[in-house]
Amino acid sequence: MTFPILSVIVFTPFVAGMLILLMPGERKTEIRMTALAAAAFALLLSIWVYFSYDVAAAGYQFQEQYSWLPALGIGYHVGVDGLSTPLVLLTGVVMFTGVLISWNIDDRPREFFAFLFILATGVFGVFVALDLFQLFFFYEIAVFPMYLLISIWGWVKTREYAAMKLTLYLFIGSVVALVGGLAMYWAAGAQSFDMLVLEQAGFSEAFQRTWFLPVFIGFAVLGGIFPFHNWSPDGHVAAPTAVSMFHAGVLMKLGAFAALRVGIMLLPEGAKHWAWLIMLLALVNVVYGAFIAMVQTDFKYVIGFSSVSHMGLVMMGFATLTKQGLTGSGVQMFSHGVMTALFFAAVGMVYNQAHTREIPKLGGFAKVMPFTAIGFIIGGLVSMGMPGFSGFVAEFPIFMGVWQVKPWIAILAAISIIITASYIMLVVRRVFFGDMPEEFVGHTHDVTVLDKVALTLLSVLMIGIGIFPALMVPMVQSGVENVLRLLGGA
């Protein structure tokens, strides 16, 4: 029997979380070390998976399959393809950096890391799931710790409201999708939740058209699709740093990924039928998100809305149903994940010292924390799709995909690039440059070495992929080929 690497990745955080829960609450250093060790372990394994994934062979690899509930055809079936492998890596990275950034959490770190790790297990679980039931199972696991993490360790002013809003939105979305999933299960008549079986089910066109929207939108709520994006900025802002990183970095991908895997891959005819609508919604995301981000004065809201805008691009790429568009979306999921994790890490670092996120009240932080400033700038460049960074590598094919389908949407969406550039540049200038307000002088200091490690890791990833797209794109493309096959060899 081969080493069940994916299962180990999925359950490492869970086991670590349970271990942490069993440790006495006062031994904070031990708790942190355990968390870091587990995160590092998961990261190493996900790197290993990433590099040993055979791109030429494509398809689902590292599969493991056990029956879970044979009576209903529920299985535990994991495996990764070209689309999910980068996301597994992303989760590993964000988890690791998240632990580094949260090193100094002092209020009940035991619970914090335990909940964070349960969340991580849910996220890993969704990305590797090849069984529809299992996907829902882990999907929900990923949702509820969010509530606790935000409401307990979040920003005092809005955390209760935001946490509840987020949980309810995501829960509504997922259960609506769940009903769709059950409908698929019965309609397929194969007595199996295995998605590889459901792919072959050949649902009737009418069925697909009926159920595509509930399923896709249900998941896409977590991806922040308009008009269900409202929870996201509020949630981002209220969440503690590591949770924002997880939230925007990985969790939103979860929604997009599930929307792709369940919505588009299982209901391809429905996807073709409704692509125009998804495209329009995504366009609103992209443009509206960017505009709203521009007028925010809260540092974190800017980033929050920028995520809405960028996730719109992911959805837009999906909706093209073309090779380039889907490939771009695949890369964008990774790129945005890393970028936004970095953004939130940087915001957290500034906030920790300034205790305010009002952009007009900040300034001059590049002098005290140059690493953070550089990291944020690199993230900003990724965000505005600057060539040479991963954002460009991702967005360019998405636009190419859109051109093939609806050229005018590409033209409209391009507006967001300029808006993004302006708000990013403004934020960079106002927060990191200029003169530091009196009250901060002398009260601020550089970030810790752990923070720097985290920032460096994230930055290097974005630049690496920007300069050498071949590091990731062929892999994503191999996953996309499979999607296209399901779409009918388009």
Binding site: K323, Q324, T327, I377, L381, M384, M386, P387, G388, F392, V393, F396, P397, F399, M400, W403, Q404, P407, A410, I411, A414, I415, I417, I418, A421, S422, M425, L426, R429, F433, G434, P469, A470, V473, P474, V476, Q477
Partner: protein
């Protein structure tokens, strides 16, 4: 060594960026070390460019020293670089000016490491545009060059740097948007970004594209390319970012901004617009020529109206770049004729000339500003007696810029006017009028600065130009003279390239 000769272009292109990474790991307090490292690092590409120049066969058609590697296979973009006479000239200009700009920046004391790194990154960005033979690679470097420049202005610039840098960035990015979209469209249509291939396919496409007549699509795409480059050049009325950016940029930043960055726009016309849209270029050449003439005239008027020395020089750039565009427009109108070739020769040579003379002018402005902390011409006066060497250099450089015969500017402007005259007689005549004002504003600048009653407050406070600064100016002045008297060595390369291309 063999590796370098077989990968000459990539070596030139990436050496500065790699050197910047090395500098990253130098201790940040070792200012002197960093400065010299940067200078030496920027001299290496220059040396390689000289090597390139000597090995370049100006008689051969097509691109030389080509290198092509897979880059972004998913969308069929390759890393394809190569040079012809046009790009070679521009590469030479870039690698020449960068060490000078770095040498000029030795007076920078604030965050030297970051500054030098940005400069080296900037060099890679600019070279990339000139070397790219793949549309996507072209765009990559086109955009990426913005970033170091933005931060150079934003961090080391003058009082109003925030406004200026943002305006610079947003203008250029907004301008590039149409370019980006058109590039995407081309990529979708042909599934390749390789320029030589696109030259063939895009010009010969017939029928409808995306449900629209191909002519309409081409016209729209033509204008989106044109606007992007027009902003960069800049052509009136897209020029408003330039005076701000120049005024606020640090001296060396202005040198490269005027010396090389503006050429990117003109180069874009030559490399992309005319070859890809020969028909549209010819059809709309009149509009372009009109705008060029407006640039010449308004640039000159604008310069004349300035009291700020740096703004004056900035407006002069608009004025001079107008000639470049005029030459290009003329060539587009009557492609293939002798007149067109002459006009283009002039335009390309003017690009080179303006590159060196504008860099020199901005440097000299910087020299005086560093000493006096003012650029207001009314604050000066009669300084010639205080700083005769500086005064001499300034006058010499100004004359080169003004187009005095026997200096470089004359040759190129003459060629442009000679070539355009039969094609756009009225416009060229109007442009000549602008030339008059060129003389006027330059003389005004010299008069207010060097002559007239001595402003007493500088006595004892103003020091003479130092050796380092003279070393910066020396190669430039030598070139002014050489190109004025014997332009053939450069013009020959340009002319052959132009003849083969257009």
């Amino acid at each position: 060594m063999e590796f370098i000769t077989s990968h000459l272009l990539t070596s030139i292109l990436f050496f500065p960026a790699l050197a910047a990474l090395v500098i990253l790991f130098l201790p940040k307090d070792e200012v002197k070390l960093i400065r010299w490292a940067a200078l030496i690092a920027s001299l290496v590409p220059f040396g390689l460019t000289v090597l390139l120049w000597t090995n370049f066969n100006s008689g051969a058609a097509g691109f030389q020293f080509q290198e092509q590697y897979p880059w972004y296979e998913a969308i069929n973009a390759t890393f394809h670089v190569g040079v012809d006479g046009l790009s070679l000239t521009m590469v030479l200009l870039t690698t020449l000016l960068t060490p000078l700009a770095i040498l000029a920046s030795f007076s920078i004391t604030d965050r030297v490491k970051a500054y030098m790194m940005l400069f080296l990154f900037l060099e890679t960005g600019m070279l990339g545009v000139f070397l790219a033979l793949d549309l996507l690679i072209f765009f990559v470097f086109w955009e990426i060059g913005l970033v170091p420049m933005y931060f150079l202005i934003n961090q080391w610039g003058g009082a109003n740097r925030n406004y200026a840098s943002l305006k610079f960035m947003i203008y250029t990015m907004a301008g590039s948007l149409g370019l980006l979209l058109s590039i995407q469209m081309l990529g979708v249509l042909f599934q390749t970004y390789d320029l030589p291939t696109l030259y063939q396919q895009w010009t010969s496409i017939k029928g409808t594209v995306m449900g629209l007549p191909v002519d309409t699509v081409k016209t729209v795409a033509f204008w989106s390319f044109t606007v992007a480059f027009a902003i960069k050049v800049p052509i009136w009325p897209f020029h408003t970012w330039l005076p701000d950016a120049h005024t606020e940029a640090p001296t060396a930043g202005s040198m490269l901004l005027a010396g090389v960055l503006l050429k990117l726009g003109a180069y874009g016309f030559l490399r992309l617009v005319i070859p890809l849209y020969p028909v549209e270029s010819a059809r709309f050449a009149g509009v372009l020529a009109f705008l060029a003439v407006m640039s010449i005239i308004f640039g000159a008027f604008g310069a004349y109206g300035q009291d700020d020395f740096k703004r004056l020089v900035a407006y002069s750039s608009i004025n001079h770049m107008g000639f470049v565009v005029l030459g290009i427009a003329a060539a587009a109108k009557a492609a293939g004729t002798l007149d067109a070739h002459i006009a283009l020769d002039g335009a390309v040579l003017q690009m080179f000339n303006h590159g060196i003379s504008a860099a020199g002018m901005f440097f000299l402005v910087g020299v005086i500003y560093e000493r006096t902390h003012t650029r207001n011409l009314n604050d000066f006066g009669g300084l010639f007696s205080l700083v005769p060497v500086y005064g001499g250099i300034l006058i010499f450089t100004s004359m080169a810029s003004l187009g005095l015969p026997a200096l470089n500017g004359f040759v190129s402007e003459f060629l442009v006017v000679r070539g355009s005259w039969p094609i756009f007689t009225v416009y060229t005549a109007a442009g000549m009028l602008g030339l008059l004002f060129t003389g006027a504003y330059i003389l005004k600048g010299i008069k207010k600065l060097l002559h007239g009653p001595l402003n007493e407050k500088w006595v004892g406070h103003l020091t003479e130009i130092n050796t380092r600064e003279i070393i910066v100016m020396a190669p430039l002045m030598a070139l002014f003279l050489v190109l004025g008297i014997w332009p053939a060595w450069l013009l020959d390369v340009i002319n052959k390239a132009v003849t083969m291309l257009f």
